[in-house]
């Protein structure tokens, strides 16, 4: 399966959800984020990388420090994660409406 980078992949992992939660409070550098977790710095760094690739956060260079910042407009897509599910059912139901109309017509003939 090819690697996908999208907002849903970003939130599928609990650590990444925690990182996002932290960053919605304020921008933090990698060290400050890593301090909150038991796992290694490279592991956290990997999560940050995925979040960046998914477009959920951006890295802002301030002097020697690199700060992670959330992208609120991308986060709103996460908030509406039900959307694809909704689309799938709407699509199905539209087809079912068509079928029912057709079946009713067949009956009337």
């Amino acid at each position: 399966m090819e690697t996908r980078r999208d907002v849903f992949q970003a939130i599928a992992d609990p650590t990444r959800r925690d990182i996002l939660n932290m960053l919605t409070q304020k921008s933090l550098n990698l060290n400050a984020i890593a301090e909150n977790f038991e796992m290694s710095r490279p592991a956290i760094s990997q999560h940050i990388k995925i979040l960046t690739e998914c477009g959920l956060i951006v890295i802002d260079q301030k002097g020697r420090e690199r700060y992670c910042q959330v992208q609120p407009e991308k986060l709103s897509a996460v908030a509406d994660w039900l959307e694809p599910f909704r689309k799938m059912w709407e699509n199905r139901f539209n087809q079912l409406d068509n079928l029912l109309t057709q079946l009713k017509e067949d009956k009337d003939e």
Binding site: N91, N94, L103
Partner: protein, 163 residues
């Protein structure tokens, strides 16, 4: 067009879908339980559903595949649990292979579909339950992919039937 109502119940790991159809219960029930009819609407376009076998009874299952626009094939099965004719049915939904062997790497969901007569047609309720938040999230991830597949919905077709 009838409105579809979606409700998330994350605490109980359920998603509820409610929709009204302008047809009597007997007809709507048939479209959800007859393989020939299911094949005509079940797959979100541009995918097509194709039934391999159908045994609509408690303990029986529907074995079908969804064929994508590029010829990609996804096998699935729906194992029927409780059936109350013209009222409701429940079933376990899962991905499988062509032989019907369930793929345990993907989360399955439990479905409860109920039908009730209204003055002008039928109200259908679909309750989808997941075992865990992780499984629900995996579904969301897959749904995201499907969302792309459905870029071209069949709204035009629908509009034609309404005019």
């Amino acid at each position: 067009m009838n409105k579809t109502v979606f409700t998330k119940d994350l605490t109980n790991k359920k998603i509820l879908v409610e929709r009204h159809f302008d047809a009597p219960v007997a007809l709507v029930w048939k479209t959800w339980t007859d393989a020939t009819l299911l094949d005509q609407w079940w797959a979100p376009s541009p995918w097509k559903a194709k039934t391999k076998s159908m045994n609509f009874k408690e303990g029986g299952y529907w074995h079908y595949c969804m064929v994508g626009p590029e010829g990609e094939v996804a096998w699935a099965r729906l194992d029927y649990d409780k059936i109350r004719v013209l009222i409701s049915y429940s079933a376990k939904d899962a991905f499988c292979d062509e032989a019907g062997k369930i793929n345990k790497d993907f989360p399955g969901a439990y479905w409860e579909v109920s039908f009730s007569a209204t003055g002008t047609g039928t109200k259908v309720n679909v309750v989808t339950s997941y075992n865990s938040v992780e499984e629900l999230e995996a579904m969301v991830n897959m749904g995201f992919q499907e969302g792309f597949a459905m870029a071209h919905d069949n709204l035009d077709e629908l509009i034609k039937t309404l005019v």
